[in-house]
Symmetry: C2
Subunit: 140 residues, 2 copies
DNA sequence: GTGTAATACTTGCGCACTCAATTATTAAAC
DNA sequence: GTTTAATAATTGAGTGCGCAAGTATTACAC
């Protein structure tokens, strides 16, 4: 029926589902005044040691370009969701830290996110979710 | 470690991996002069009965908005990768058909795509790929 | 049949993001 | 210690795509 290898078919479904899901989550997070992308940086910062990350690492984990994070973080700094910080050991890197305000918004948004995710993820194998998520993180 | 439900974590990984993968595939398909999104419409048209689809259905399957497909298809029609066609039963719908030229480009791009997909998908469970892809299609 | 709602698609506007090139800084080569 | 290469981030220019609103056309009520 389909002339795709199984890997190709999977990546196709992955990206298409990813697009759909992103758009839906964007809508549900709009209530909190942040985009889904912004939520993702808040989340990864919240998980990071010291709630601080380098911009390049942030880019890779959220699935953006370095350029993309720069543009994304600018307004977030202005709204004081995150704070810029310099690295004494290496003047090239500029670190990003989650602010108190950012932490609070993250907490609120997290609840909406998890709730909506529960709805969207029906039909996925409940037991294997954690395992599968881990595999996806090590992808590409 | 992470205060996410398993569903939430999975959707996060899904969208982030989707972004990364999309960007990579975009690059590899650039050789054929098409974007990854364009490849996806060519692919779905090639699978469709009569190699023809309605724009709304195309939008949903490729993970775009109706507006998005309109903008995407305009240049593709100009390059004659696809052809517009009207539905005699319903004047609202405008059908899109894969052209001969589009079919050819699709065939070429398909090879590159599958090859690259193979590389990108290392670390994913080979046996479960087809099954998982099907589940992702019924997501969101 | 007429009015209302639903569906398919398009368009104006704008934002998010990418790419390529640039700057600043550090690491490596020798 | 220079020179060269590699890394981190930013910026200019441009594109892709979404949203909201608009236009047709069809379906449904009654």
């Amino acid at each position: 029926m389909s002339n795709l290898t199984s890997a190709a078919g999977l990546l196709l479904s992955l990206t298409e589902a990813g697009n759909r899901v992103s758009r839906r989550l964007d809508h549900t997070l709009a209530i909190h005044g942040i985009s889904f992308t912004e939520f993702r940086v808040l989340h990864h910062l919240a998980q990071a040691p010291g709630e601080t990350m380098r911009r390049v690492d942030l880019a890779e984990t959220v699935g953006l370009t370095a350029s993309g994070v720069t543009r994304l973080l600018n307004p977030m700094e202005k709204i004081h969701l995150v704070e810029k910080e310099r690295n004494p050991r290496d003047a090239r890197v500029s670190l990003v830290r989650l602010s108190a305000a950012g932490k609070e918004i993250y907490g609120d948004a997290l609840a909406s996110f998890c709730q909506r995710a529960q709805d969207l993820a029906v039909g996925l194998p409940g037991e294997r979710m954690a395992e599968l998520g881990e595999q996806l993180n090590n992808l590409a």
